[in-house]
Symmetry: C2
Subunit: 516 residues, 2 copies
């Protein structure tokens, strides 16, 4: 058996299905590039049949991201498989991931199929995938609640039809480690052939990481997981925890290795958090800001004496050192571009100009611009990789305990025009949103609003992520500024610009049929 | 063996030691009351020797909170034990929790004691505790990295000296479930006497819940855990996950029961998050806002057909239904007071008047005031339970992309006086903070700044928590308003008021010596 565990990242598929996350192609590409830099073996880039947007994102990732296998998810129907292949076929190493549910409740209530029909579907779907590519993965959805012998029959058929990875999902997070490990062990005994066994565990009871690792202990050599533990409901096993548990307890895990460059974990976590708008809990293992005691200045006595008194992971190993101060208001365009390149952010042309302008604006108000600040600026300006229709020329805000909060906004509209509006609101952010809605004619509903500070201290950048819904379109926007109301206005306008683009290319809503 | 697992909550001790959390007596009391309402068996209220503030909080909880055992943590020295007893002795059911490290690294580097000295200390500390109270718990700190036979010797001595609970800490989160379960099993075989065995697991590798449950499977009948998984570094096992795993997989966990009223879990999580300023990850198991698929409107097909297709826990069972709309701008004082009482919030006298005034202000700007809004208002107004020196009379803010952000503030100072100031800043919040600093003469450093929205939608309340440091004093403040800059100003002023009080009663800084 291999002495390596493959890391299969599903941040862009299962993670992206979390409510309120709606990444566009540019954002998905940015995450995929960071995942490749992190060194994951397989990137599940999306579910191509789900929507045109999903298809385009998977295709773009397959065409542009090098170093990792790119997988596309698919149900067993030929239309699904064909579409998935169409999206991933440009990849350096494409994989098709075919699934069908095998638990009684899913077969009866969701699929409305008999067990025999499910077997036929599995064989047909895997066979179709195999006709396109050698690297085929098969998942029996809701595996942990399936009759284990029936599931093994289906798995055997899948292997015989050409699947070379068998992924066992604990779709509803029902498993406990001892039991889940035994299922993996049993499958390995019963299902004959040459295949890699994989785990896909959900965290509904807080056991996703433990279940995945029990799977590894029982012979699994691929783990499906997601950055920051994103995913449906309580999410998937957190990639960073899986990797660091294998490394930190390599004595227990038989010195199994992964290809992950752990020093990229913290940055990957930040990129995903910023682009999805999902905050990372302070006390999150490995990537939370409290994960390392010595940074917090507590446990001081023990830590000073010997770091290992209270810490089992070195902060530097996961890239969790404090962000270095890199630039200030006197830094020029060359230094700026150079720093972005060193950080692995590829920004060119008009996007670079626009990011540099924002950098100078911020540097005028803020003494030190850190790496984390730069990431945020680039995320705001370049998240979409396309030119925005509306940009802010001027924004004026006033409010207080006795004044009615009000906002006035002047926006550039395309190349030449300008639009402007004034409005009141419950607060200044509310007023700014109303004024922008008025000026742009896009009146959406704010589904979610999240503010965080990028760096610490009084002059921290405010980073606002807004989820906007307008006439069945949904978009998220991000804004960064030293003033939180300005950041909110920027983020709202950003979302409005996306809605404008979505309107121009109407798209069928994503199908609500999701995978393992 | 008992068919119940005792839930020992350490949110107020291990959780409160997280960086940036500094709860005052009133806030700790509020959390303790909610924990008692939740039905936990034991509340570890603090570490009385650590500081005068810790002592007072433990004492206040022991005197006021009924229904749960109240525990105080203590090292083995007589001064520690005596102080802990002094704090908890008023409780309905007091417990003393004595600990000393047994791992080679902790004994050598931190304690600088020989193994024999550690044994003597354990016996002496437990004996002293037993002289005060029958209910004595003993913990060998860093148990999972201790020589297991040496640890068992110490445990045997502790039992012989009168300990009736033996708690096995995985202090650095190094354990894996199989191994940790075997340690518990081994202790139960080797250590003779009548005692309850307990687990205390940290989450550095994401395995705290799994390790605790492996302990239960191996015979542990107490689990130490914390709401939202708070605690040093990556935190402790999350109470809500432990309780729901035991219940959801009762088939696997031999139908063991806990006394927790699960329908209070969501509210307890909210109260702790709001008072500590620690956000809960959206994808947090059980209490995260995504934990239930049907709320998010995804997995729709399957969920509509049958909830159990994708969900294993009922949202109502953990109190995760949407907050009900309870009050509007026409609601009177009686309805307001009545609603608070129904919510279990005990607010009276001047505090009630002040909360009602804030409620009316908010209701003027916001159509619907939900239960979550009310919790936030009460948290802002009553967090400290004492009268503030400074209160806002007027606040004016202005800013924008081309204006210099500025603020003007007029504050009432005590009964009669007023103070006022104007200032500019990097953003309006920064300007408001500068103006308040100027007016009050309290110039602190903002260590942490967190904004969240209490409810959803455009007219959501902004909830700001600020951590402030000023001349070695630290305080957190909370502010709620429809305008986020106003909320920030309120939260900063709240922290300033606390600093003013701390200055009046200077206190030695808390000792940096923490427990299991």
């Amino acid at each position: 058996m291999s002495d390596r565990v493959k890391i299969f990242d599903t941040t862009l598929r299962d993670g992206e299905q979390s409510p309120g996350i709606s990444l566009d192609v540019g954002e998905k590409l940015e995450i995929a590039e960071q995942l490749a830099r992190l060194g994951v073996d397989i990137i599940e880039a999306g579910f191509p049949i789900a929507s045109d947007g999903d298809f385009e994102a998977v295709e773009a990732i397959a065409k542009n991201v090098r170093g990792s296998t790119i997988a596309g998810l698919s149900r067993t129907g030929f239309q699904d498989v064909d579409r998935a292949w169409e999206a991933v076929r440009h990849a350096e190493r494409p994989r098709l991931h075919v699934f069908i549910a095998t638990s009684p409740i899913h077969m009866q209530k969701k699929l409305r199929m008999t067990p025999d029909q499910v077997k036929d579907e599995a064989v047909a779907g895997v066979g179709r995938a195999k006709s396109y590519v050698d690297d085929v993965e098969f998942s029996p959805e809701d595996g942990s609640r399936s009759d284990v012998d029936f599931m093994c029959e289906v798995l055997q058929l899948a292997v015989d039809a050409g699947a070379n990875t068998l992924n066992i999902p604990d779709t509803v997070g029902y498993g406990v480690p001892e039991e889940f490990g035994k299922i993996i062990e049993y499958i390995r005994e019963v299902v004959m052939g040459d295949y890699v066994i994989s785990t896909h565990c959900h965290n509904d009871l807080g056991l996703a990481v433990a279940n995945s690792l029990a799977g590894v202990k029982a012979g699994a050599r691929q783990v499906e997981c997601a950055i920051n533990g994103l995913g449906e409901r309580a999410g998937n096993a957190a990639l960073e925890e899986i990797v660091m548990a294998l490394r930190t307890r390599s004595d227990y895990f038989e010195y199994l290795e992964t290809s992950v460059r752990t020093e990229e974990l913290a940055r990957t976590s930040r990129v995903v958090s910023r682009l999805t708008g999902y905050p990372v809990q302070y006390n999150k293992a490995v990537v939370g800001r409290n994960a390392f005691a010595h940074e917090a200045g507590i446990h001081q006595h023990g830590v000073l004496e010997d770091r290992e008194t209270y810490e089992i992971i070195d902060a530097a190993m996961v890239g969790q050192e404090a962000a270095q101060i890199v630039l200030g208001k006197h830094s020029g365009r060359h230094a700026f571009a150079d720093t972005l390149t060193k950080m692995g952010l590829h920004v060119q042309g008009e996007a670079l100009n626009s990011a540099f302008r924002r950098f100078k604006e911020l540097a005028d108000r803020k003494v030190e611009i850190t790496e984390a600040d730069l990431e945020a600026i680039v995320a705001e300006e370049l998240g979409t990789g396309v030119v925005h229709r509306f940009t802010i020329i001027d924004l004026e805000l006033s409010g207080g305990t006795k004044r009615t909060p009000s906002a006035r906004v002047v926006l550039a509209d395309g190349e030449d025009g300008t639009v402007e509006a004034e409005a009141n609101g419950n607060g200044m952010i509310d007023a700014a949103i109303a004024a922008i809605s008025e000026a742009t004619g896009v009146k959406g509903t704010v589904l979610d609003f999240k503010v965080s500070s990028v760096t610490e201290g009084g002059d921290a950048l405010g980073d606002v992520v807004i989820q906007l819904e307008c006439e069945s379109h949904r978009a998220s926007g991000r804004g960064v500024a030293t003033d939180v109301a300005e950041a909110a206005a920027r983020s709202y306008l950003n979302a409005v610009n996306k809605i404008v683009r979505l309107r121009e290319r109407p798209e069928a809503p994503r199908e609500q049929h999701v995978g393992p």
